[in-house]
C-alpha cells in the first residue's frame, strides 16, 4: 500500500485530492499534525483559494517548520495549484493587504497572468480550462506516462516564476502567455493544474507521484 499524507490547513479541496489518490490505490492520511507531517513518507500540499489566507492558516497551525523538516528528509512532496505557489518565496496576490511570506522551498514568486489581446478576444482571468503540457524536462518522473494526448485542468489567475529556469519542468500556453505548469527541485514537485480534476491524465500523473 502506498502511503501519502495530505496537509489539511482548512483551505482547499482536500476531498477531491483524497478520492483521486484512493481511486489509484493510495492509503491516504489527512493531517494538520506537525509531527505526523514530519514522519510521513509522501506529502501533498493541496491548494485552492487565496495565497495570503492559505499562508496564514499554515502559520496558525504551526506547519511551516514541519513542512520544511519533511522536505529535508528528501521524501517526495507535491504542491498542487496554490500549493505549488506556496512552495515559492512570495505572491503578488492581494499583496496590498498584509502580505504573507511563502514557504521559500524553491526560489521564485507568483505574479498575475498578464492580459493581452488575442484573436480579438480578450484573455479572461481566472484562466479556467484544459490545456496540454509542453514538457521541458523529459526526465521528470512525474511525466513518465504523459503524452501529447493528455490535457490538464487549470484554474488560476496567478502564475509562478521560479528563479532558476532549471526548476521549470513543464509549460502550458494561455493565449500568448507561457504559463509555468510544473516545477521541480530535487524531491519537491509542484503543478499549477489540478491532477485530481484532470480525468485519466491526472490520475496517471498522481500514480507516477505515488511510485516515486
Amino acid at each position: 500500500m502506498k502511503n501519502v499524507l495530505i496537509i489539511d490547513y482548512n483551505v482547499g479541496n482536500i476531498k477531491s485530492v483524497q478520492r483521486a489518490l484512493e481511486h489509484i490505490g493510495a492509503n491516504v492520511t489527512i493531517s494538520s499534525n506537525p509531527k505526523e507531517i514530519e514522519r510521513a513518507s509522501k506529502v501533498i500540499l493541496p491548494g485552492v483559494g487565496a495565497f495570503n489566507s492559505a499562508m496564514k492558516e499554515i502559520d496558525k497551525l504551526k506547519l511551516r517548520k514541519s513542512i520544511l523538516k519533511f522536505v529535508a528528509t528528501k521524501q517526495p512532496i507535491l504542491g498542487i495549484c496554490l500549493g505549488m505557489q506556496m512552495l515559492l518565496d512570495s505572491s503578488e496576490e492581494f499583496c496590498e493587504e498584509d502580505p504573507q511570506p511563502g514557504l521559500s522551498i524553491i526560489s521564485g514568486y507568483s505574479t498575475k497572468i498578464p492580459i493581452k489581446k488575442i484573436d480579438q478576444n480578450q484573455l479572461k482571468l481566472p484562466h479556467i480550462g484544459w490545456s496540454k503540457l509542453h514538457i521541458e524536462n523529459q526526465r521528470t518522473k512525474l511525466f513518465k506516462d504523459i503524452t501529447d494526448k493528455d490535457s490538464f485542468y487549470f484554474v488560476h489567475s496567478y502564475m509562478s516564476i521560479p528563479s532558476d529556469s532549471n526548476c521549470l519542468t513543464a509549460n502550458s500556453k494561455y493565449g500568448d502567455n507561457r504559463i509555468t505548469a510544473a516545477i521541480q527541485q530535487d524531491n519537491v514537485y509542484g503543478v499549477q493544474f489540478h491532477p485530481e480534476k484532470s480525468g485519466q491524465s491526472g490520475l496517471k500523473l498522481l500514480s507516477a507521484f505515488l511510485q516515486l
Binding site: 482536500i14 477531491s16 488575442i118 484573436d119 478576444n121 480550462g129 484544459w130 485542468y153 484554474v155 480525468g199
Partner: protein, 257 residues
C-alpha cells in the same frame, strides 16, 4: 484562440436528477450520480450541480450526492443552490466540490461574494445569473425563477466581477429546456461587459447552437442539460462538431466518440 469548455449541468431535487422547462415543471430523470459518471466517461470538462430545493444542510441532500460523485468522477464539480454563508461554502468544498455557484443569497446580500472570494479565492466562486428578457433588458430572477430582483443582468454581472466573482453562469430562463438555442444577445452583452469567463446556459438544441454561443456570444464555456440527459448528443460528439468549426478544445479524446 482560447480553449472552450463543455459543461454538464445537473439540476437536482435530491436524491433525483430533474429537468424542467423554463425552470418549471421538473421531471425526475434518475440518479444524478449515474448521469455524472456517464458524462465523465464521455469526456465532459466539468459538472455543475444545481440544487432546486437548497438541501445543503439536510440529510440525503446535495452534499451526499457530491460525496458519491467525487468517488469516481475526476473533473471539476460545482455546487449551487442554497449557499447562504461562508460556512456553507466550506461545507460544500469539504464534501468534494471545487467551486460553488450562488444566486439568491448574493442578490439579497452582495457583500457575501466579497467574503467568499477573500476566504476561498475567486476561482471557486461562480455568480449564477438566471435572467428573463424584459422589453429592453434582462432581469435576474432568484429562488428557482420565482422571485424577481429588480436588477439589470448586465449591471449585476459587472458588480459581481468587482466583488471578486471568478466566473458567471448565465442562464436564460426564457430558453431553458426549450431546445430553441441560446439567448445569444444576452450572452454577448454580458461577455462584452466583464473580463471574467462566462458560461452560457439554457436552450441548447443542436451543436450549432453551441457554436453560435461561442462564436457570436463569445461564451467561454457552455453548460448543457437537456440534450445530454435525453441522449440527443454525447459530449464527444459536441466537442467534435465544435472542433470541426475551428473552436479550440484541448480536452478531447477521439476514442470516446
Amino acid at each position: 484562440m482560447r480553449n472552450v469548455r463543455v459543461i454538464a449541468k445537473l439540476e437536482v431535487k435530491p436524491p433525483n436528477l430533474v429537468k424542467g422547462i423554463q425552470l418549471e415543471g421538473l421531471r425526475k430523470l434518475g440518479n444524478p450520480n449515474d448521469f455524472a459518471v456517464k458524462y465523465y466517461k464521455q469526456g465532459i470538462d466539468e459538472i455543475i450541480y444545481e440544487d432546486q430545493i437548497a438541501s445543503l444542510l439536510g440529510r440525503n441532500g446535495i452534499l451526499d450526492i457530491i460525496e458519491k460523485t467525487t468517488d469516481n468522477v475526476f473533473v471539476p464539480i460545482t455546487v449551487g443552490g442554497g449557499i447562504q454563508s461562508v460556512e456553507n461554502v466550506s461545507d460544500a468544498l469539504r464534501a468534494g466540490a471545487d467551486k460553488i455557484s450562488i444566486n439568491s443569497a448574493a442578490i439579497q446580500n452582495p457583500s457575501i461574494l466579497k467574503d467568499i472570494a477573500k476566504r476561498f479565492g475567486s476561482q471557486c466562486l461562480i455568480l449564477s445569473i438566471q435572467a428573463k428578457k424584459q422589453t429592453n433588458s434582462w432581469e435576474p430572477y432568484y429562488d428557482c425563477g420565482r422571485e424577481h430582483s429588480g436588477l439589470d443582468a448586465i449591471e449585476w454581472a459587472k458588480l459581481g466581477e468587482q466583488l471578486g466573482v471568478g466566473e458567471i453562469l448565465l442562464t436564460s430562463i426564457d430558453q431553458d429546456g426549450t431546445k430553441k438555442g441560446f439567448d445569444i444577445e444576452l450572452i454577448r452583452k454580458v461577455t462584452d461587459s466583464v473580463s471574467i469567463p462566462v458560461i452560457a446556459s439554457g436552450g441548447m438544441g443542436s451543436c450549432d447552437d453551441i457554436f453560435q454561443a461561442i462564436s457570436k456570444g463569445k461564451a467561454d464555456a457552455v453548460a448543457i442539460a437537456h440534450v445530454l440527459h435525453y441522449d440527443l448528443f454525447t459530449t464527444a460528439q459536441i466537442k467534435k462538431y465544435c472542433m470541426n468549426k475551428g473552436i479550440n478544445i484541448d480536452n478531447y479524446n477521439e476514442d470516446l466518440l
